[in-house]
């Protein structure tokens, strides 16, 4: 006999092993074994009483009083216990598996794995009652494990309806246990244990907005996917997914094959998407400094417009120490420069004449980015920040020089003018 409330509840919400398989997948025939379990919790003193109606009534009252203090009814899971098993899994868990690259089959470390348990309740009509979430990250072996959640919600009529597993790793298509991107069609290969999550590489033609909507997830997942918000916003503003993800390669002016090439950091369409500018740009390099292995620039020159419509981007990839020095130099050199904490490890805003500037430091990568934007192009202070975030979001696409080849001294001639003239 189970005496403690916790034990009583455990008996109520844990399904009976072996009887699980015979229940339908819609999960609404769980009552019989719940009744069995509850009967088993009745104290012997009550069960053995011979008081006729009164004792029977006492049993009924006992059962009525017991239920609200117990954990939820667990509905049947729409997934199997293991990939090679026909036995239904358990919505409560535990869950484990491995995240691998779909092409190489190699384990992927650092993938965010979130599990979400959704509880419902309702008399006649039904709605959300409670939810629990557990988050972990895959280790070097690509494995994850989520335990049965503690502190399950209690209350009359509460049922565990759904468990959803979400896996996200930048550069890959998000994975959900209940659907497949981009169509959302139901997934049939999720298993409670020994699950294998095969992540497909992200394709430039895919929509970041659709991806974010598909992904869902709680704070941890959203934080991991936060970089997609900017390109998704551009898509909503009318830019195609390709325009936000894939740009034509631009030939470096310096012939070295190892020359830094930042042509993928920002596109014309992205600038237009942020600023709403409808005109055309002539895209080239800024004239104030030549492209090298550790420096590159982009100049979006607005055709038939004054310089106040131009946008400039400069990137130094010069190692941690030199990058910090370069950032300090920019604060000292750029007009009206003010340190802010809007991006990266440090950032600044500057303003000179009709041009606004923004720069930020990525200490670990040893990178400094500086954007300049004419006020006719960027009338809102938030616009240059959005451009900067977009550029940062594409940084993984840029081949940065190795640490050994950097460690340079800060460059001279800091300029805020998009056209690069001192």
């Amino acid at each position: 006999m189970l005496e403690s409330a916790g034990d009583r509840c455990k008996a109520a919400y844990y399904p009976i092993e072996g009887e699980r398989d015979v229940h339908s997948r819609d999960g609404h025939d769980t009552h019989p074994f719940i009744v069995q379990q509850l009967i088993s919790t009745i104290p012997k003193s009550v069960k053995s009483a011979h008081g006729g109606f009164l004792s029977n009534l006492a049993v009924a009252v006992w059962l009525t009083a017991l239920v609200p203090s117990c954990g939820p009814v667990v509905e049947n899971a729409p997934f199997s216990a293991r990939p090679d098993s026909l036995r239904s899994g358990d919505l409560l868990g535990p869950f484990d598996g491995m995240v691998v690259d779909d092409e190489t089959d190699r384990p992927l470390a650092g993938a965010v794995v979130a599990g979400s348990w959704a509880f419902v309740r309702g008399i006649g009509l039904e709605g959300p009652a409670a939810a629990l979430e557990a988050v972990t990250e895959t280790g070097a072996d690509g494995r994850y494990r989520l335990k049965i959640p503690a502190d399950l919600p209690r209350g009359e009529g509460v049922r565990l309806r759904r468990f959803t597993l979400m896996v996200y790793r930048r550069g890959y298509v998000a994975w959900r246990s209940d659907g497949i991107f981009p169509t959302g069609e139901p997934r049939g290969d999720f298993a409670q244990q020994g699950n294998r999550v095969r992540l497909e590489k992200w394709q430039a033609s895919m929509s970041h907005y659709r991806h974010l909507v598909f992904l869902g997830g709680g704070p941890a997942i959203r934080a991991a996917a936060a970089w997609e918000v900017q390109p998704a916003g551009l898509e909503l503003d009318g830019a195609s997914p390709t325009a936000t993800s894939e740009r034509p390669t631009e030939t470096a002016r310096v012939g070295s094959a190892s020359a830094l090439n930042i042509s993928s950091l920002l596109s014309e369409d992205e600038v237009r998407g942020v600023t709403g500018y409808a005109g055309k740009f002539e895209v080239g390099k800024l004239a104030d400094r030549a492209t090298s292995d550790v420096y590159d620039s982009r100049h979006f020159k607005a055709l038939d417009k004054p310089e106040t419509y131009d946008v400039g981007l400069r990137v130094w990839a010069i190692g941690t120490e030199a990058a910090e020095a370069q950032f300090r130099k920019l604060i000292g050199d750029l007009p009206s420069a003010v340190a802010t904490e809007e991006m990266g490890d440090a950032s600044l805003r500057a303003r000179g004449g009709d041009v606004t500037g923004f720069a930020f430091l990525l200490r670990e990568k040893g990178v400094v980015m500086q954007l300049s934007c004419g006020l006719a192009q960027c009338p809102e202070p938030s616009m240059i920040l959005r451009l900067a975030k977009l550029a940062e979001s594409h940084l993984p696409e840029v081949k940065l020089p190795s640490p050994e080849s950097t460690g340079l001294v800060p460059s001279s001639g800091s300029s805020l003018v998009p056209g690069g003239k001192p």
């Binding site: 819609d26 009924a60 979130a114 309702g122 759904r162 209940d178 659907g179 139901p186 869902g216 997830g217």
Partner: protein, 483 residues
Amino acid sequence: MRRLGLLVRPRFSLVALVGTWAVFSHSAARAYEPATTHAGLTERAVEASRLHQVLSHLGRPLGLLEPLHISLDLLDQDERRALQARLDALDPAGGYRPGTDGVAGAGQWVVAGAVLAKTPPERGANHFLDPANGKGLHDGPGLSGFAHSLRLLFDGGTSVRGLVAGTAFTLEGKSALNWIWSPGNDLGIPVLLDNWERAVSLAGPRAREAALVRALLALGGVMAVLEDAGQPAFVRNDFRGAFLQRDGGSAYEQFVAAHYGRSALPAAATLVSRPDIASFFASVDGKGLANRTQRRFFSEGTIPADVSIERDTKVADVVRRARESLEYSSPTLSSLVLRPAQSQHYLALEGHRVLAYENTGTQVRFFLDDAVFADMARTLLPEIAGYAAGLLNHLLRARLEMAVAGTSVTIRLAGEAKEGGAVRVFVEDGSGQRRELPGTGAILSPGGEVVVSKPAGARKLAAVLRGRDAGGPFVAAGEVTLP
């Protein structure tokens, strides 16, 4: 029940079973499942609407993706506690539950509102609408209050505890059209309009942002009510038949939840434009969503009654008796195929299967199966999203366009509003604080302009106008950053 028999004597088990039956006999009934179907439909509607552009116009450059903070501490204690509890119940997997910091994207807040519309689930009782008479959920004459609850108890829809505590669902509700205007609905149109205005007019930036969140939640709440007008049971007063007859609740809604989830729901069909808010739901021209749903589809509890037959029963007699059993005049049936016996057939209307039937030899049995549900879902779901997107656009149909020229700012009422109203203008300083410009309140007509002088030291000007035209009340808003 084998183990139960081993444990207890028959008399004991009888009473115990009655007790446990009373406790466990809730049908796990499902309206369009809030966490999946309503969430997904609302996502599709939001995507198809112009909400993204409207938000961008209001100084939220990321539009649907703009992170917004609800600032629950600005609410009074009871409201804060209630809303927090409801938000905590949302499934993180859907992506619309705010983080512990109270932040979610603007579009996610709308979706959260659609889910909260049925949180707690009893709120769904106010989503019913019979377009023919404007009534909400009712369970026939002669029964009310406790009698309904008792009847529901025996139908399996409530519990002894709920009955005693008075929380049992009584098969009564406000009609959907009353509910969206009800002062008791914290996700209704009055809340939406009030907070849309406050999102411009309040002094502090946190308060304005929180008001915008409340407005977006209410927007989702209103959309969820309309979405249920695309569920046959909700427009055919069919709670008992759709939700209580079988243990699993509405088979149609389970079908939709299982086959579409949240992310496989189809995109919105053509955006619907209607003359006023009510006509998105129901109207005399029959083009409201509830009208269209009611006349084209059966719900599980409003199909024809089974007809007993003999060898010489004529098809016309079966059709007549089946028609006579119908509670609603449409859809109806004009012919049936009854040969050969034991075969299953479908009644098709407008190219989709709406009813399954079979001749068992002794009766003609009518039912809805997965093939019917598939056609219903394929037809209804894109249409629902189109109506919801249209309603969203209708509610946000007016905007204020503001242009700076020299030292003056011109404010123009744009969009689709047919009438004007008094425009209030606010000046925002460098810290985001707003104050109303004295002397504003000029009447602005559609296409008309109001010119105000640019105040010194101002960072932004914002304006808001509350008006009403034939399409119902509206709020127009706009803002401009000053050079």
